[in-house]
Every structure is written in structure tokens, then in C-alpha cells.
Amino acid sequence: MNTTILLFLLQDGVTNGAIYALLGLALVLVFAVTRVILIPQGEFVTYGALSYAMLATGQVPGTVRLAVAMGIVAFGLDLFFARKALRARLVLRSAALNIAFPIALLAVTYAVAGPKTPIAVNIALSLLIVAAIGLFLYRIAFQPIAHTSVLVLLIASVGCHLALQGLGLVFFGAEGLRGPALSNVALTAGPLRFTGQSLAVYGLTIAFIIALWLFFGYSKTGKALRATAVNRLGARLVGIRTTLSGQIAFLLASVIGAISGILIVPITTLYYDTGFLIGLKGFIAAIIGGLVSYPLTAVAAILVGIVEAFSSFYASNFKEVIVFTLILPVLVLRSLAAPAVEEEKD
């Protein structure tokens, strides 16, 4: 093997790894706040990417209708749970968030959708649509069972993944889609060519890592979010609004997922079910990071990306096998390093 191939593989690995890092960060974020292991993270990726790709061809993606439908269900749940003390302000706020916002989104999407819509508008719309879905997903599926064990939340998470992936097929069809590039800038350094796309991937990943690390480590809101994860009741007693924390976490995760999707859809063709595998690789990174550490997750994600790039070069048939078995030695080391602690369950 010569240096050029080595460099190419490394570059490829780092670019993919950066995407896994973004997803890994989102997973850590959601887990740290809500204890939900967010399997549907991959669907946020495909929803963001394919909504963007469809908007770019001038079509209205089905995801925006899903956002409206989920908003209506979320509003119904809000009304149902507040039925003992219905106050006008509460109802109005809920209606604004769950009904008015997605319907406005739907109206704007239908109004502006067309082959000539600027890329920036399409990106903004895709992000908003996925953000709304993420927010409502928490309200509908997880908020009612927020107090249960990690396991119950995990199974619910798998349920959400199944439903969202199935809906993805309905919205986007079985054919893969590719989106237009965000910019056509390109830099050349030795044998390597850096496209504006991959530079955007690096830049955004680094920005998110630093931002999340600062936010959770140093800001009051960030600490409040972490407190929610450790002890919901305790957090509520000191005045933290735990449902709001969960909503913020899902909002951030869905936006991060959608951004990752929009970043990669110009590079590779995405299918409605691609997100699951991409999300799982983010998982491997998140698990290596112990589901707590942002910098460690990012490093692990880059590592996963590089391992994947090299194994696809040397043993392309066994690429997935190698990447997914990578997790086993890590898990063993983790469990050896931190002997099982007694958990009070149920």
C-alpha cells in the first residue's frame, strides 16, 4: 500500500467518523438527559437528508405532514394530561407549539417548494421539519413513560425506530436519493482534495463538540439538564422543569441528526433505511465514550470511521462485521474497568 491510498483511506475515515461523531454526540446528549437510548437517531438523519433532497427537486416531502399529524397527537396528549386543570394560557401555549407551528411549517413548505428554491431555504425547512418531529416524538412516546427504567425506554425507542423507518419508506420510496452539494469550493493539499462539503462536516463537528461540552460542563441550563437525568424527582424539587429538559434534548438531537443527514446526502446516496446503520455506528462511538463523555465519543467516532474505511479497502465483505465487533472488546474493557454497581430497578 502506498502513502496516497493510506491518506485517502484516512481522509475517508475521518469524514465518515466526523458524521458518526455528530450522531454519537446527539446520542450521548439524549441519554444524559432523558436516559433514552435513541435508536431513532438514524431516522432523524434520513428524514433530514431525504426531506432536503426532495425539496431540492421541488417536491413537498411527506415528513412535513407527519409533523402536523404528530403535533395534533401531542396537543391531544397535552389536553388529556392537563384535563384536571385546564387553563387558557396552557392550552394556548400547547396549541401554538403543537398545532400552529407545524401547520405554519406545512403552509410555508407548500408555498415555497419548487425547483428554484434557494438551498438555504431548503436546509432551513428540512431542519425545522425534523426538529418538530423530534420534539413531538418525545412528547408522544417518551414523556408519558419518562420515569420508567432504561430498559423500558429502550424498547419504546426501538418501537419508534420501527414506525419511523416504515414511514420513511412511505415518504421517500424505496429508491435512494441524493441532494445537491452545499458548496462547490474545493481545496487541494498534496494528493488530497478537500471539498467544501467535507470541510463543512469537519467544521460543524468540531463546533458542536465544543458547544455541547461547554454547554453541559459550564452553563446552568446544561447542568440542570444533567441533573434531570440523574434524579428526575430531585431535579423537579429544586425547580427544574424535567419535561422541558427532555424536549430540549430531543430537539437538539433531531437537529443534529438532520444536519448530519444534509451534510452527507450530497456525498452518498441515502435510502430510507440507511439511517439505522449510520446511527448504530454513532452508537458504537457513544458506547466507547461510555455514554457520558463528549470528547471521548468524538475520538471514538473518528476511530470507527477509520476502521471502517480500512476494512472496506481490505475486506470489504466483512466491513460491517468488523465495525460491529469492534464494540465487544470495548464493552469488555468497560465492564472490567468499572465493576457492575448495584442498581435499584423498577
Binding site: 419504546a156 416504515g166 412511505v170 448504530l280 465495525v323 464493552l331 468497560r334
Partner: protein, 589 residues
């Protein structure tokens, strides 16, 4: 044999179904699929519902079973029946290898780990040349007895359902045994089980292997039913579906697996055939409905359909009453008639910078009740955890009967005749008082998993239950013997813990706040029981906050404050000790 009656009826119904005139052949295919899924789900019931270990990777074990027979029968021409042990063995060995790695994982790492290797194995199946890559292996011979070949769905039907029934019987037998109680205690954390000698890692590995072997059996049957094997049914999606089946049926119930398989397989069929009519020809619509239903189910009925159904039955299944005349031989041990039982020498425990126990030394003699008192946070429970091996001491030595314990694990400490109760009650709430107490006698039985499944353990089991019943009678809870431990008051649960500790046949009993939550009369009864135990030759070391109770009962008192021993002596001397008064009431003005 009234307990076996529902089973016999079920078996007869299953046997008769194919003979119902006019039954559509398609229904039989569905029933075959239900049986296959039920086998896997039954393993998950034991693994997840009972043992608390969630696995999304069971489908991969089906794959091991199916591919083993596929390769052996097609490439080497081995007879299908001979491949059965091979299939079970291969899935079992795979489970040992994966289990050693994964069951050690705590909490949510375990399900994530199973997802990871589940997907990894799926890709392995679909890439290996000798497994036929994505196309798989076809032309697998059918099962046959003599000249009778099980080619059609209604002939292999019997093979499948006989397997289901046998698996159900073996699983129920296993759960209702010494090993089964150890497995059932796993879900509530390992500390309590280990305090009575249960080797929790081994118990976890055991259920993991058992679940994998059942999945392997299902895979073997599947291969001969489809007469082909390809990677698709052994992927992550299928693994998720099996877990779904177990949750729908009721993850803690053997028959929940069969019920869940029935509900899910039929539902899937209905959805697959009718949804396209309603929503146009799109595929995969059933997964949407599936996912939504899974979420709804967790919100509305998290424990599944089977327990819901059972609670609506007009009659309650009768419980067996143990024959208390059976004697369990006392544990072999050194006679402890006099002298020092427990000697603690400068025991120290630091958590980071906090010294929880600061070079504490004291002794407990034979036939003595020693109380360990002190304000909250004095290090009393930590001292207990050091003695019983739950925590390892930072420095210092602990001797039992003159022999140094040297940071032995809890399972070894209990063998020395030291048993304990917990400050925060650690019972299995959905097991009866009798079953909970019988865990205490774990080390005094010897039957393993295989003999339990085959019901060869009954003599051993009867003696264990008799001993448990005797100890329950001794602490005065005979009326509650068949109630679920979770339904008792907190005070009564503490007494159950004492009975469980007595089942060890200990020479030293460590009681952590036994009188908390008891009423006055109950405290008097407890004090009388402890005195009676002491007079019978047992020693007691107890932590307690009720000073009246302690002063009346203890022969000697050790006082801790901020991890340090500040006084030791008779109750009268302690009452007059100025340091003790200062520690409890603050400095005198």
C-alpha cells in the same frame, strides 16, 4: 396433579387442531410459525423477564441452529436428527463465547452489546461463502421418522409443538427450583443473591446459554420447516421482534411467550394482508403499526397480556404447602462453643477522600448479642459490608473463627456461617415469602439446572422448602408464607429477611436495623427471638437506632461516630459514657 391439568388440556387442543375438518392449511402454517417464535420468546422470558438481561440478539442464535443443520445436511449428508445435538451445541457454544463477554455488562450496555453483535453476526451469515452468502442454503432435507417424511406444514407441526411443550415444561421446572430462585433473584440486583452464596455471573451465563439453546432449537426446526436457510430471518429486525413477542405476552411468564407469539404472528399476518388494501400497495406498513403498538403497549400495559388475563381468571392456582417434617442437615462447620467468632482489626474503608470506617477494631464472641450504634453516617452499614465482603477494606484485617477472611467475596463469607439482612430491604417482591426465604438455604441444596429441569431435584427441593417454612414459622410469619414479599409491610419484610438469613444456618447473624418499621409488640417479639437464638448458640451483631430496644437486648455495645470507634462496653456503661452522649446530643453546654 391438578397443576398439570391446564397443560394437558393445552396439549390435547394442540394435538387435535390439525384434525378439525375444513381447517385451512394456512392456519397450520401460522401455528407452525407461532410455535417457532414461542420457542425463542420462551428463552427471552427466562433471560429478560425473569433474569433481567435484555437481548436483542436472539435471532442470531436461531441462525446458528439453522445454519449448522443446513451445512451438515447439505454439504456432508448428515441425517437431520443427528444434526439436532450439533445445532444445539453450536448455539450453546456461541452463547458461551458471547455470554462471557456480554453478560458481565451492566445495565443498558448489555442490550446495546446484543444489538451490536446481533448485527455483526447477521452480516457474517450473509457474507460467508460456505453459508451461501445472501442466498443462503437451500435443499435441506426434511425431518423423517422411518419412511415418514415431514414435508408438509401439518406434519412438522407436531415436531414444533412437541418441542414447545417440552421447552415450556423444562422452563417451568427450572423456574420452580433452587437454581430458578437464584435466576429470579438476579433482576433485583446481585448483592442480596450473592450474600446467600449465589454465583451471579454463573447464573447469568446459565440463562444466557439456555435462551440461546432454545433459539438454536427453533432455528433447527425452522431450517427443516422451510428446507432452506438465508440470513434475513436472523437479522436485527427479527431480534427486535422476538423481544416484542416476549413483552407483549408478558416478559416474566412462560406461557406469555406462547401467547405473545400467537398475538404477534397473527397480527403481523393480518396487517400484512389487509393494510395494503387500506393504504395502497406500499410494503412495510406493518412495521409502522408494529412500532406504534409497541410504544402504546409500554405506556398502557407494561407487564403484558398474560398477567392481565390471569388476573381475570375466576379461580386462583393453588400453591403447594411444604411438609415441615423434612429435615435439612445442619451445615458442616467448626463447633463454636466459646471464644471469638468475629474479630475486626483496624478495618478501614475510604471512598476517595472520605474515611467511612476509620481503623475500627472490635470482636463478637460466641453466644453474644453485640450492637453497633452511632449517629447517621457513622459507618455502621459500611462496616457490615466490609465483614460480608460486599465492599473490600482499604486496609485492616477481618477474622472469622480465627481465620483471616482476606477480602473474600460475599459467596465465600456466607459459607463461613455469617449471614445478614439489609438496611434497605432486598427481597424479590414478585416471589412469595417462602421462595424468598428459601434463597437463604441456597448453599444447603445441591441440585443444579439440569436436574431441576428434569425434576430430579424434588427430594432436595422439598428439604429446602421445609427448612424455609420452619424458619418462617420461627419468626412468626406463617400466615404470610404464600403472600408475595412485595405485598407485606416494610416491618414484615425485615422479618422475612431475618428468616432468610436464618436459613443459612449461621453462627453469626448480622442484622441491619431489624426493628425499623416494627410496632412495639413486634419489637418485643423480635427481641425474644434474638435472645432465644443466642441461647441456642448463635451470635448476633446488629445495627439499630431504637435505643430502648438495643439497651434491653445487647450484651455489649460498640459505638461509632464519623467512622471511628468512640466507645465499647455494656449497655449501662455506654449510657453513662460522656463521649457517647456528646456524639448523640452534641457537647454539653
Amino acid at each position: 396433579m391438578t397443576q398439570r391439568l391446564p397443560l394437558v388440556i393445552f396439549a390435547i387442543v394442540i394435538a387435535v387442531i390439525p384434525f378439525i375438518p375444513g381447517i385451512p392449511p394456512f392456519w397450520i402454517v401460522l401455528l407452525d410459525n407461532i410455535g417457532l417464535a414461542a420457542l425463542v420468546a420462551m428463552g427471552l422470558v427466562l433471560l429478560t423477564g425473569v433474569g433481567g438481561l435484555t437481548s436483542f440478539g436472539q435471532a442470531a442464535f436461531c441462525g446458528f441452529g439453522a445454519y449448522t443443520t443446513a451445512v451438515l445436511t447439505t454439504a456432508y449428508g448428515v441425517s437431520p436428527w443427528l444434526t439436532l445435538p450439533a445445532s444445539l451445541l453450536v448455539s450453546g457454544i456461541a452463547a458461551v463465547l458471547l455470554g462471557i463477554v456480554t453478560v458481565r455488562l451492566s445495565g443498558h450496555y448489555l442490550p446495546l452489546g446484543t444489538i451490536a453483535w446481533g448485527i455483526g453476526l447477521f452480516y457474517l451469515f450473509s457474507k460467508l461463502e460456505f453459508l451461501g452468502r445472501n442466498d443462503g442454503i437451500s435443499g435441506i432435507p426434511p425431518l423423517s421418522i422411518g419412511g415418514f417424511r415431514m414435508l408438509s406444514p401439518d406434519t412438522i407441526y407436531y415436531a414444533i409443538w412437541i418441542a414447545v411443550l417440552i421447552a415450556a415444561i423444562l422452563t417451568m421446572n427450572l423456574l420452580d427450583s433452587r437454581t430458578g430462585r437464584a435466576i429470579r433473584a438476579l433482576r433485583r440486583g446481585h448483592v442480596a443473591a450473592e450474600a446467600f452464596g449465589v454465583q451471579t455471573p454463573r447464573a447469568k451465563l446459565l440463562v444466557f446459554i439456555y435462551a440461546a439453546v432454545l433459539a438454536g432449537l427453533s432455528g433447527w426446526l425452522y431450517a427443516h420447516f422451510q428446507r432452506a436457510a438465508n440470513p434475513t430471518p436472523f437479522g436485527a429486525q427479527a431480534g427486535i421482534e422476538y423481544l416484542f413477542i416476549a413483552v407483549v405476552g408478558g416478559a416474566g411468564y412462560v406461557w406469555g411467550a406462547v401467547l405473545g407469539a400467537g398475538i404477534v404472528v397473527i397480527l403481523k399476518e393480518v396487517l400484512q394482508s389487509y393494510l395494503p388494501y387500506i393504504f395502497g400497495g406500499q410494503s412495510q406498513l406493518e412495521t409502522i403499526v408494529f412500532g406504534i403498538m409497541l410504544v402504546l403497549l409500554l405506556q398502557l400495559a407494561p407487564s403484558g397480556v398474560w398477567p392481565w388475563l390471569m388476573s381475570r381468571l375466576p379461580f386462583k392456582p393453588a400453591r403447594k404447602t411444604p411438609d415441615t417434617s423434612l429435615k435439612l442437615p445442619a451445615r458442616g462447620r467448626a463447633p463454636a462453643t466459646s471464644g471469638v467468632l468475629l474479630h475486626i482489626e483496624k478495618a478501614r474503608k475510604q471512598f476517595g477522600g472520605v474515611v467511612a470506617v476509620n481503623d475500627v477494631s472490635f470482636e463478637v464472641n460466641a453466644r453474644e448479642i453485640v450492637a453497633l450504634i452511632g449517629p447517621n453516617g457513622a459507618g455502621k452499614s459500611t462496616t457490615f459490608n466490609l465483614i460480608t465482603g460486599v465492599l473490600t477494606a482499604t486496609s485492616g484485617k477481618i477474622f472469622v473463627l480465627g481465620k483471616e477472611v482476606e477480602n473474600a467475596p460475599p459467596q465465600e463469607v456466607v459459607k463461613l456461617g455469617v449471614s445478614r439482612t439489609f438496611q434497605h430491604v432486598k427481597l424479590v417482591p414478585d416471589m412469595t415469602v417462602l421462595e424468598n426465604v428459601a434463597i437463604g438455604a441456597h448453599l444447603r441444596g445441591s441440585s443444579g439446572a439440569i436436574s431441576s429441569m428434569l425434576r430430579l431435584d424434588r427430594a432436595d427441593e422439598a428439604r429446602l422448602l421445609a427448612e424455609a417454612a420452619r424458619q418462617i414459622e420461627r419468626v412468626g410469619l406463617s400466615d404470610q408464607i404464600d403472600q408475595l414479599a412485595g405485598s407485606l409491610s416494610l416491618g414484615q419484610q425485615r422479618i422475612v429477611e431475618i428468616a432468610r438469613a436464618l436459613c443459612v444456618d449461621p453462627m453469626l447473624l448480622l442484622l441491619d436495623e431489624p426493628a425499623a418499621g416494627l410496632r412495639h409488640l413486634e419489637k418485643q417479639r423480635l427481641a425474644a427471638l434474638l435472645r432465644q437464638l443466642r441461647d441456642g448458640g448463635m451470635s448476633v451483631l446488629l445495627v439499630e437506632h431504637d435505643m430502648g430496644f438495643v439497651m434491653d437486648l445487647a450484651d455489649r455495645i460498640v459505638v461509632l461516630d464519623f467512622g471511628t470507634k468512640i466507645a465499647e462496653g455494656t449497655p449501662a456503661a455506654i449510657k453513662a459514657n460522656p463521649d457517647v452522649i456528646k456524639a448523640y446530643l452534641g457537647a454539653a453546654a
